[in-house]
Symmetry: C2
Subunit: 142 residues, 2 copies
DNA sequence: GTCTCACTGATACCAGGTCTCATAACCATG
DNA sequence: CATGGTTATGAGACCTGGTATCAGTGAGAC
């Protein structure tokens, strides 16, 4: 079963209609290799309205088929998701994204909850740096 | 020495001109109690142009006089800064912000750097929850 | 005083995203 | 297969947050 079919079945299972627009958006999303902006999908899923692309992206986010990637300038990108809660390490030079397997702050969330009496509901955690490849290419050119 | 004077001296010391517009923006910023959007300052520093407010906010950020607060929807707010690198715990109900003294992920950054061969340059970390006061008021009304 | 350059504000612009609304497609049911 | 209710669509207006442009100004060094 292709990835596309698999996603379509998930939608069906949750009583979402399978329409040509949705399929086009999902196919475009699955074709991306790294992280991407909604605008990229708007351009690549030609013929699908802007609003529909945004609506479909929201749907895919809710279903955990894509996840949001927060860039350093606070702009939102997306990325086909490995399931479950995790964080990213983004190369600011080539854009490569490393998924970090565990949520590194779950212990911290517990400590904070105890220390502050907040009920902690969520967090943002993203790391930025330069991957090994980009570091060595910089070293070569300087 | 008032806070305003102190900030003005910092600007002077770094060869930035002290202008009425800047003073108005800084005064408006210092008058905020929690976190605030640039738009708030645009409205409160009446007579100062939009662009100038944004420029001044950038300047204040660079000088570490304010810090950026990332909200859950990825929108940027600002807050008068305690100095140095730190993170926030934001109450999603009343907007109250708790500053977290230490950077909780500095150890993690080191581990990640070793494990991934990335040179890690930065990160976002913000927590969201409900403060004790908001939790109890919810408890009362439900 | 005057000269120069950083600074200013009006305004146009751009990006990212939502709202509206008439229309169309879907599909369960009689 | 006709019908009807719901869900989805796309065009486009709109909104928010932020930048670029550029002629004009005023701060402060001399």
């Amino acid at each position: 079963m292709s990835e596309l079919e698999s996603v379509i079945r998930q939608l069906e299972a949750l009583d979402h209609r399978i329409t040509p627009s949705r399929v086009a958006v999902i196919a475009a999303v699955l074709a991306q290799s790294g992280h991407f902006s909604v605008e990229t999908i708007v351009h690549q899923a030609r013929g699908v309205g802007r609003a529909t692309v945004f609506r479909t992206m929201r749907l895919l986010t809710e279903l955990d088929i894509v996840c949001r990637v927060l860039l350093e300038d606070a702009s939102l990108h997306y990325r086909v998701s490995r399931r479950g809660h995790h964080h990213h390490l983004v190369c600011v030079s080539c854009g490569n994204v490393q998924d970090l397997d565990e949520c590194a702050v779950s212990d911290l969330v517990r400590e904070l909850a105890a220390a502050t009496e907040y009920e902690i509901e969520g967090h943002w955690l993203e790391f930025y740096g330069r991957c090994a490849a980009c570091r060595s290419s910089v070293a070569l050119t300087t």
